[in-house]
């Protein structure tokens, strides 16, 4: 067994990563809950957002946390337009079509990034990149702590929107019963596009919190997309509480798994959870029976 002195920092690191995972998964689960489709372009969209943050810092000197003010609205708008003019149009009312279209969009984005930005892995330097803060016996990087609280705040705002605003009520109505929502006068297509926009807006926020302690390359989305899927399945498709708990759990599992099995094999823990959940509890921890 490892000593506590190694486990504790690994646990905390996992928790901070997990908070960002949770934010990414919240966007995915929102889109799933409303549209009943999985957005396979989620990872590619996150990758694009990371490049957005990167270039805002490189060319305009914008601090990643200030970029929040740009990236969240930008990603929201991109999501809204993408649904209105590409994904919604292509669906022809069939779920398989939406699946295929989001996959196609993911391929386009990933290779567009490869073409525009080349395959180099890029990182940014900030004054606080290497600042660490002691928590108990552990030294945790400052950007990771900011990411934890930032992701938590973003999640809280999202939940508030869903609970307390008319938009949130309309989204929940569409998720529950789209025919009924249409009958009481909700513009369902608009709500779908708004949900897609909010889902991608979460990614804009996640990218700003992620980049100071992370890197970006054209393939970076692939890793995240599977992790986010796992979280959503683990937490229960469409469940916000599930996405939060699942995100933190997966972050910790990944961190501890990496400690035991090494960086590359450590990811296996995530897939084992994924398969185990599908086997024994396909509705997830917090989901109603699908």
């Amino acid at each position: 067994m490892f000593e506590l002195s190694i486990l504790w920092p690994a646990f905390l690191n996992g928790l901070t990563t997990g908070a960002v995972y949770a934010l990414i998964a919240l966007g995915l689960t929102l889109i799933y809950g409303v549209l009943h489709i999985i957005n396979f372009a989620h990872g590619a969209a996150l990758m694009m957002a990371l490049y957005g943050v990167y270039y805002l810092q490189k060319s305009l000197g914008l601090d990643p946390y200030v970029s929040l003010l740009v990236m969240v609205p930008a990603m929201f708008a991109a999501g809204y337009l993408a649904y209105r003019y590409v994904i919604g149009v292509a669906s022809h009312g069939r779920d398989e079509n939406i699946l295929l279209v989001t996959l196609g969009v993911a391929i386009v984005l990933e290779n567009l990034a490869l073409f525009l930005f080349k395959s180099d892995t890029r990182t940014i330097d900030t004054a606080y990149t290497f600042t660490t803060i002691p928590i108990g016996t552990a030294m945790i990087a400052l950007p990771k702590i900011v990411a934890f609280f930032g992701a938590a705040a973003a999640a809280a705002i999202l939940l508030l929107i869903m609970r307390a605003t008319d938009l949130g009520r309309a989204i929940r109505a569409c998720a529950r019963e789209r025919q009924g929502a249409r009958l009481v006068g909700i513009d369902v297509e608009h709500v779908f596009a708004m949900s897609f926009g909010i889902g991608l807006g979460c990614l804009g926020a996640a990218a700003c919190f992620l980049l100071p302690a992370y890197y970006v390359n054209p393939g970076v989305g692939n890793g995240f997309v599977l992790i986010a899927f796992t979280i959503v399945v683990l937490g229960g498709m469409g469940s916000f509480a599930g996405a939060l708990v699942g995100g933190l759990l997966i972050g910790v599992v990944e961190s501890l798994g990496g400690l035991w099995l090494g960086e590359s094999l450590g990811q296996i823990g995530i897939f084992l959870i994924f398969i185990a959940v599908l086997l024994f509890r396909p509705q997830g921890l917090f989901g109603a029976r699908a």
Binding site: E96, L103, I107, V108, F115, V233, L265, L278, P282
Partner: protein, 302 residues
């Protein structure tokens, strides 16, 4: 007739480029035909067909390079393994009625799981991959001319077409298509939905593994990214979607169009990595938007 026409190709042209293009068309058609069995006939969209492809490719490479099997002897083993992996994934997912997004996800996750495993386990050569030893001779599945490979992959494609033709014209095929069109009604009239879907994924997996075996022999090299990466999964699904989902000739037509397009874009964007793949992605979006039943389907409706 199609078979004879292709078989005569080496007599008409011995140009390596022409034959190589024909081989790649047939190979892509084989992957598409395999994918089409599960998605086109069965309605289950897999985004991770690389899991079967990679299993076939690694079965051929490992058995041959590490255990000294004859190359041809690895073929039935690879088919059986592909079918077994298919049955395993199918049993896990269909038992709980996973469909649509869930199923696409599970297949994707399994492909990724296998890729990580292949990257970390010794007997697959880990990240370095496996070289299949060069040992020319028809008895070793290695030919001195491209024509030899052409005949082999043609035989695979014809076999796959035969399987699909059987699916179109048999009772089992009718069950499978009934499950695709309406699972609940199929169940109501007494179709064993679980077993029918399980059969389809095993069949699809076995054919996909044949594609993997051919890949391993033709390129004589396998590594985790090539075998289990998302590229193969996408290659397998693009052809049928372009050509026509659930049709006999759709995947073949799609593969031909894809390869022609690939040749065109490679020439056009020689120094731009990614652009040719980007065209594939855009094509996928455009096809689903404007021609959801593929080129064949669009013509048939008129």
């Amino acid at each position: 007739m199609f078979g004879i026409a292709v078989a005569l190709l080496p007599a008409v042209s011995s140009s390596g480029v022409v034959l190589n293009t024909a081989i790649m068309m047939l190979y892509t058609a084989l992957l598409g035909l395999a994918w089409n069995i599960l998605a086109g006939f069965g309605g289950q969209f897999s985004f991770g067909h690389a899991v079967f492809f990679g299993t076939g490719a690694y079965a051929a490479a490992v058995l041959q390079a590490k255990l000294g099997w004859n190359a041809w002897a690895t073929l039935p083993a690879a088919l059986a393994l592909g079918a077994a992996v298919g049955a395993f994934i199918g049993a896990l997912s269909f038992r709980y009625g996973l469909r649509g997004s869930y199923f696409a996800l599970v297949t994707l996750a399994f492909a990724e799981l296998f890729r990580i495993l292949a990257n970390n386990v010794d007997f697959t050569g880990a990240g370095v991959g496996i070289m299949v030893k060069l040992d020319a001779g028809a008895e070793n599945f290695q030919f001195s001319t491209k024509a030899g490979y052409l005949y082999v992959v043609l035989a695979f494609v014809l076999a796959a077409l035969l399987v699909c033709w059987w699916l179109k014209n048999s009772r089992y095929g009718a069950w499978l298509q009934a499950v695709r069109d309406n699972e609940d009604s199929a169940k109501a009239v007494g179709v064993n939905v679980f077993r029918v879907k399980l059969g389809a994924i095993a069949l699809s997996g076995a054919l996909m593994a044949a594609g993997g075996v051919f890949y391993a022999q033709y390129f004589q090299y396998v590594d985790p990214g090539l075998a289990y990466g998302p590229g193969v999964s996408i290659e397998a699904l693009l052809g049928p979607i372009i050509g026509g989902l659930g049709t006999l000739w759709g995947p073949v037509l799609g593969a031909v169009l894809l390869q022609l397009l690939g040749e065109g874009t490679r020439g056009l964007f020689e120094n731009a990595p990614g652009l040719s793949l980007m065209v594939y992605g855009a094509l996928l979006v455009l096809m689903v938007t404007f021609m959801p039943s593929g080129v064949l389907g669009a013509f048939r409706r008129r």
